[in-house]
């Protein structure tokens, strides 16, 4: 097809989204739910064939944010992608950030400093707590449990402010750097962290008391959106959805990275893989994350946060102004980017939603040849129809909330 076809001359398109089916029977109706429906966060559209209140089958369209993430990556240096990878999952941006840094560092053969390693682990767990709080809070709100929503969002809000105090941004932190972190932790930050963790436990305890044994909550969540382990693996589900089926699959345990090999933690699993299990797995996972963070607070050593590697780390500002070598080094890093050896790499971290993989291809230049993201939400969208079909229309709201779909990850 010619690339230069004039878009104005193309025939108008009546409806860009075509469902995979029409109504199969006389007594069913095909309805479109979303996009931008309160039940479906973000750009998602669900086309559902309904037999009265019952969902016969669904066709899920993940939508598109028109951000062009992967295309933009090919036009920037390896450094400059940091804000883009943040915006993949805006609930737990730091995990994305560190996974990308890890991929590039492994490709360059860089070993990060111990302080960076522990700090990254701590912040990744912190992000996971914030992400799960968002997901569970939204899920509760969709069921009408407004108090639970407010409790969890209050806890999350102090975390966001705390992370903003560290990184200087509220949601899109851009805190990782190839070879380390942007800057060190400000004084008093760890002390405030302990206060926030205590607050978190108070609020989550209240939510447990409000909904765990609530009749309405259980009726809406138990035995809704059930999936077993074999089907979950077949559809590529990872993270809390896979663990809710009873399979203890967690990359932090299975293939430890960062400092996870030295930490003591459990992998919470569910019983039968329904909505209630997904809720409970997330709640338990947050507790494990907090337990890990408390261990990490005692483990973080003093020391530099950046490696001493002139291929990717900017020299000190004072040296740039006084030394010609540092000036040239700085100039080359800004204009050409860090030189990453040719090759390709796939690095996966346990994101808040599942396996977050970065497939990076370098041809030996300062710009990536290709960056591909294996985003958990995108893969989940491919199989989410299996846990929507056969339930009620109103269950789409809760089931879809328990998948925790993030629009930014479905972007390319």
């Amino acid at each position: 097809m010619p690339l230069s076809a004039d878009p104005v001359l193309r025939p108008p398109i009546a409806n860009p989204v075509h469902p995979v089916f029409a109504a199969s029977r006389d007594d069913t109706t095909v309805v479109s739910i979303g996009p931008s429906h309160p039940a479906t966060h973000g750009t998602v559209q669900i086309i559902a064939e309904m037999d009265a209140e019952k969902v016969v089958r669904t066709d899920v369209h993940c939508g598109y944010l028109h951000r062009g993430f992967e295309k933009e990556c090919e036009d920037h240096t390896w450094h400059n992608l940091m804000p883009y990878v943040d915006r993949l999952n805006y609930c737990s941006a730091l995990i994305n950030n560190f996974a990308y840094c890890d991929a590039v560092e492994q490709l360059m053969g860089i070993e990060i400093t111990p302080r960076t390693k522990y700090l990254r682990t701590l912040l990744a767990e912190y992000s996971r707590v914030a992400d799960h709080l968002t997901c569970v809070a939204a899920q509760l709100m969709e069921l009408g449990a407004m108090t639970g929503f407010l409790y969890l969002v209050t806890a999350r809000d102090s975390m966001y402010e705390h992370l903003a105090a560290l990184t200087g941004a509220r949601v899109t932190y851009s805190y990782g750097r190839i070879g380390g972190l942007a800057f060190d932790v400000p004084p008093g930050w760890f002390r405030r962290l302990e206060e926030i963790l205590a607050d978190y436990e108070r609020y989550v305890g209240m939510v447990h008391g409000l909904v765990d044994r609530n009749r309405i909550f259980i009726d809406r969540m138990r035995n809704v959106g059930v999936i077993d382990t074999a089907r979950a693996v077949h559809w590529g589900f990872t993270g809390p959805i896979l663990r809710s089926t009873g399979a203890p699959r967690d990359l932090r345990k299975d293939t430890p990275y960062l400092a996870y090999g030295e930490l003591d933690f459990d992998v919470p699993v569910g019983i039968k893989g329904d909505n209630y299990d997904r809720y409970y797995v997330r709640m338990r996972e947050m507790d494990e994350s907090v337990y890990m963070m408390r261990q990490l607070l005692d483990m973080i050593p003093e020391g530099p946060i950046m490696v001493d590697d002139r291929r990717c780390v900017f020299p000190e500002k004072e040296l740039v102004y006084t030394e010609i070598e540092s000036l040239i080094n700085h100039f080359k890093l800004v204009m050409e980017g860090p030189v990453v050896p040719a090759g390709d790499i796939y690095v996966a971290h346990e994101g808040a939603n599942g396996e977050l993989g970065f497939y990076c291809v370098s041809n030996g230049e300062g710009q990536p040849y290709k960056v591909h993201v294996r985003a958990p939400s995108f893969v989940h969208m491919g199989g989410v129809h299996t846990i929507l079909d056969g339930y009620q229309l109103a269950d789409i709201v809760t089931t879809f909330g328990s998948v925790n779909m993030i629009g930014g990850e479905c972007d390319r």
């Binding site: 690339l3 860009p16 590529g236 390709d344 993989g357 491919g382």
Partner: protein, 177 residues
């Protein structure tokens, strides 16, 4: 821990290659490229993909389909390199398969008969690179709309190109100063 499984995979999936120093011959069409950053990599031709993936799933327990994507190398005799990633949830190891396909007819087999997860990711790859996955029952556009011309992640697609569905309005007098 993973080394014995990797050795077994290497021996059984590309036999005869270990002794010949990686030399490609007619008897060893599947080439093992070794372990790269903890991932065992195989290069194969498109028609070997389906049997290879079936063996990986059934004999070696690679039950989780992770990812499929393509890399565009314009100017190369076989332009697109399609890359698959698999994961074994029992042994915790990853395998990468690579196949090169030509430009005018970039066709590979779909893995939807083996893995449900492949369907959505193949649709994405089809959208972005124009790779045709033979056997995918539902290769509609997923991220782009019907009628979008070209494939945005190909290297020859300009980054600044715009294809608005609704033509831009002419500048209006009140807004143009």
């Amino acid at each position: 821990m993973t080394a014995p499984l990797f050795d077994r995979l290497r021996e059984q999936l590309s036999p005869g290659e270990a002794g010949s120093g990686g030399q490609v011959s007619a008897e060893t069409p599947v080439v093992c490229l070794g372990v790269q950053h903890k991932v065992l990599v195989f290069a194969l031709t498109p028609d070997q993909l389906l049997p290879m993936a079936r063996r990986l799933r059934d004999e070696f327990g690679f039950d989780l389909f992770l990812d499929v994507t393509a890399v565009d190398w314009p100017g190369a005799p076989l332009r697109f390199e399609v890359v698959w990633h698999f994961y074994s949830t029992a042994a915790h190891v990853r395998v990468r398969l690579k196949a090169r396909v030509p430009d005018p007819d970039p066709t590979v087999d779909s893995l939807t008969p083996l893995y449900g997860a492949a369907g959505y990711m193949e649709r994405e790859c089809h959208d972005m690179y124009g790779i045709v996955f033979r056997g995918n029952p539902d290769l509609r556009p997923i991220l782009l709309y019907e009628g979008f011309v070209g494939h945005p992640l190909r290297k020859d697609y300009p980054k600044q190109k715009e294809q608005p569905l609704v033509p831009y309005l002419p500048p209006q007098g009140a807004l143009v100063r």
